[in-house]
Symmetry: C2
Subunit: 198 residues, 2 copies
């Protein structure tokens, strides 16, 4: 099957990178041929989470049309947040938790948006829907994404769905999510202090 | 809970009206307070299907903001195909099988699009997802929608998902879908010949 790239938004956060990894794994299980890539290097928090669960940072792309005709978006839909040549490729799938803005297609596609705290919470539902088992490392990176977006389930955007996903993913990943979550968020604050010092 | 209206596109077809009825029923089962309405009178085909399964034609609205603040869209997303004052209400849910065009929101929402032959095929999946039993008459109107959009599973937009939905819905509705489908489509062609004569 023709290869497709899966990626989150520019200046990627842990949801953009973690959910791209999780969606690529799921879609490949379902018969697609995808690669999770990123539109930038991981920040310190994301790098911490990737390392914790044994992932390399996804390959960074500047453009997509030079290598594929089709792409799948996670954690964003607005073209100005996407790959620079998004208008030159076909978006076949979107999984996102943001408002929809300036996202136009010429063909029908798969688009799932839900008003929850993190795209990985929606992804958790998709794994359940398709009855695909979540490997321990994928559970860990999805857990990290939800911890990041919801500030350890404390942000006003947090829903019951996010809480349930965190509990189940923490079990699969075999981590104490409150302890790990504080470590992860702390790894992210390092960059802020460092930037201020620089 | 605050009431929301559920409707399909202007110049409604059987999918626009049938899936609005089916989505309103599902959402009410899930705890929402909704009413299925329509942006126009049913055509001859839709009127035939509504009568066959014991439904009244949904109430026709010209505007929405005079009665509700929130709406749910089925079988369309483009504002120019929607209620005239769509910009004055908040769209909380969309279930559709068309391209996405000029659909912008200020807030996150539920949006499910799939590239299948009919919105009722997606709706069938939502009933399964939420484990809500499909009543016989709702199955009948969803079946009628898929027959209409896929021309009895013969259109090039027909997918395996549409075929499977038709088989299961026909069983619940207790009709021979090939026999009923021809009657339904024939009821629709009456209007074409009549219009030509007029
Ligand atoms: Mn993000
Ligand atoms: Mn996010
Ligand atoms: Mn339609
Ligand atoms: Mn339709």
């Amino acid at each position: 099957m023709e290869k497709e790239l899966v990626f989150g938004h520019q200046n990627p956060d842990t949801d953009a990178i973690g959910t791209a990894i999780a969606y690529s794994y799921l879609q490949n299980k379902l018969g697609y041929n995808t690669e999770a890539v990123a539109l930038g290097e991981p920040n310190d928090e994301t790098a911490f989470a990737l390392k914790k669960f044994g992932f390399e940072a996804p390959r960074v792309i500047k453009t997509a049309a030079n290598e594929v005709e089709k792409v799948m978006l996670v954690d964003h839909n607005e073209p100005q947040q996407s790959v620079s040549d998004i208008d030159k490729v076909t978006v076949t799938h979107v999984v996102d938790h943001h408002r929809i803005m300036n996202f136009n297609t010429s063909m029908p596609l798969f688009y799932l948006a839900e008003p929850v705290g993190c795209t990985s919470t929606i992804m958790f539902g998709l794994y359940k829907h398709f009855k695909v088992e979540i490997p321990q490392n994928i559970a860990g990176i999805m857990l990290s994404a939800i911890i990041s977006d919801t500030l350890l389930l404390k942000s006003p955007t947090t829903t019951e769905r996010d809480k349930k996903a965190v509990q189940e993913l923490a079990e699969i990943a075999n981590v104490d999510y409150e302890k790990y979550g504080l470590e992860e968020l702390k790894a992210g604050t390092n960059i802020a202090s460092k930037s201020e010092e620089e």
